[in-house]
Symmetry: C2
Subunit: 345 residues, 2 copies
């Protein structure tokens, strides 16, 4: 009998505000597991490989979201949090799963765990194009799905139109929009990120911390499609600079999460929705799986492997580094997609 340490990332305390603070999560190393002998009871033993640090995870930390679509995922104090991850099967008694198979979905963040069956919406990852496993929680994971499926379903993009993209999953959207023939304005939170989004094809890119978003959007003649990860004052500027019949894809409101006062807590220009016939759509990528998921996994990993879709990752190592990676998201210190590598294989 060989005991292996089985680190877990636990929900330690509810953050008061600002998404996540040090001490919200706790990396616990007190448990061990016997990988060869632990009984499976008809289930399968998995190993965690890569985890995605996504802004929306903070929603699962907040009681405010307990009535939302995420209710069943809300974190419980003292229990492992869940997040999008790539896992590999070590041993299996599930007929459809064999050792060595990889999967992506939201899983509890334990370095090793046994489950009876794969949860709904689990994506098998044959990875026949040979890209890094981490990409399957990034450009080929939920953030990439959101960009690809949301853009295809809701942008109604027409060649020659202008889109304003706030980054995050937006770096993929920039490339989708350029492929569709749009002019792309992109905002980012540092000069380094501005250079990155330019390298991804943005025609106009600016640092929203030092430039005036509304002035730039108006100078560029207004926008037809807004890809919003930010909310708050950026959304207000986009409403003000919207052209008639614009489409607003509401993927996240990172500036508004936890904002109870100040400029990001309220929207002043909502009347533009009426005056300019704007359509504003909030969506969960899950609801787009039917009709888009097969297309996504047939198309995107190959585009990534061929270098036709670029991506950038900010990688940290070790499950315990997720908290810092999450805090970095809200401080804006990451440049690429924040990914935690737990194990290489």
């Amino acid at each position: 009998m060989v005991s292996t340490k089985n680190g877990r990332l636990l929900f330690h305390s509810v953050p008061v505000r600002d998404g996540i603070v040090p001490g919200t999560l706790r990396y616990d190393e007190s448990e061990t597991i016997d990988l060869d002998a632990v009984p499976l009871n008809g289930g399968a033993l998995f190993k965690l490989l890569a985890v995605s640090a996504d802004p929306f995870l903070t929603a699962l930390m907040s009681p405010a979201y307990s009535e939302s679509a995420f209710e069943h995922l809300t974190y419980k104090i003292g229990k492992p949090i869940i997040a999008y991850a790539v896992i590999v099967a070590l041993r299996s008694e599930i007929p459809t799963v064999k050792a060595g198979d990889h999967f992506m979905n939201m899983f509890p963040l334990e370095e090793y765990f046994i489950i009876d069956s794969l949860p709904e919406r689990t994506v098998p990852l044959p990875n026949d194009v040979g890209i890094p496993w981490s990409t399957y929680v990034g450009v080929c994971g939920m953030p990439g799905q959101t960009a690809y499926m949301g853009w295809k379903e809701y942008s109604k993009a027409k060649k020659g139109e202008t889109t304003f993209v706030t980054t995050g999953a937006g770096k993929f959207v920039i490339q989708m929009a350029k492929r569709d023939g749009l002019k792309v304005i992109a905002s980012a939170g540092s000069d380094e990120k501005v250079e990155l989004v330019k390298s991804f094809g943005a025609d106009v890119a600016f640092n929203y911390k030092t430039a005036n978003t509304l002035e730039i959007l108006e100078r560029e003649g207004g926008i037809d499609v807004f890809w919003d990860n930010v909310g708050g004052v950026t959304l207000d500027a986009a409403l003000q600079a919207s052209r008639s019949k614009a489409r607003f894809l509401e993927c996240g409101m990172m500036a508004a999460y936890g904002a109870t006062d100040g400029p990001n807590a309220v929207i002043k220009n909502i009347w533009n929705i009426v005056g300019k016939s704007i359509t504003m759509v909030g969506f969960l990528v899950w609801d787009l799986y039917e009709g888009h998921l097969d297309d996504f996994y047939t198309t995107v990993p190959k585009l990534v492997a061929d270098g036709e879709i670029k991506y950038r990752e900010d990688v940290t190592r070790g499950l315990g580094s997720l908290e810092d990676a999450m805090i970095g998201l809200f401080k804006g210190t990451n440049v690429g997609k924040a990914v935690v590598i737990v194990a290489d294989e």
Copy 2:
């Protein structure tokens, strides 16, 4: 030569705020017209019969809207304002128009006027069902079109769902929603209006001035479709009480027009769009004409004539009464659709 007084309703001064105030418009009786002899020069002479007092007209008074879809309609000081009206041809040199023909569209508010051709989107009114001409600027006019076409295009209503309707054009929407099998919650600004919307079929109706909108929406289990004429705090409550995948039809934001501070000037709960996958649609009824206008005029006047769609009008007489009717809209003193009868035939 017989001179007939030709009264005109002029834009007199830009209201500072609150939509419209006394003195915004001026009824001018200084002009006359010789109805029998005035040369038509290939055009036609029309007489104004009925005019609609619509909240959105205040948008045409405000420089803030000069960049909106209404830009080309913005009122000019000293010139007749335009509004939805029913007109009848007295004499015509336009081949497709003969004396006695009735039409509905936005027209300059002069009791008699000559135009070279009918403007785009003019609706001919054969009125073969024999309903009052005033209905063609109300339940069978732009407000009715908005309700009927907007509901059909955007509500995605399913039997058993719940809709929250703020009144105005909403009285028709209540009846559409009941015909589709929805539970209808309606808000109105007086106890008398509450009784009226109940008589139109609302399952739950309340006076938003004395009741707490959010409490009622939550007590009723939330909403799937929101028909918004109001904006402001009512929209905020609807966002908060929204169920997952709700549809918000944004027809007007009467509470927000001109509100530069106070609770109606800002929206606090916009993040629900992301958390609950809400779709929020602003639309102009004009953009729905293709595909819906023929259906509307084939269906609705007959339903009205047969009493299957109820309506209520608050009628005033004389073109000069429009200003008071408009002020009444914002004070909430009207109960039914506010219509001005300029002449009976």
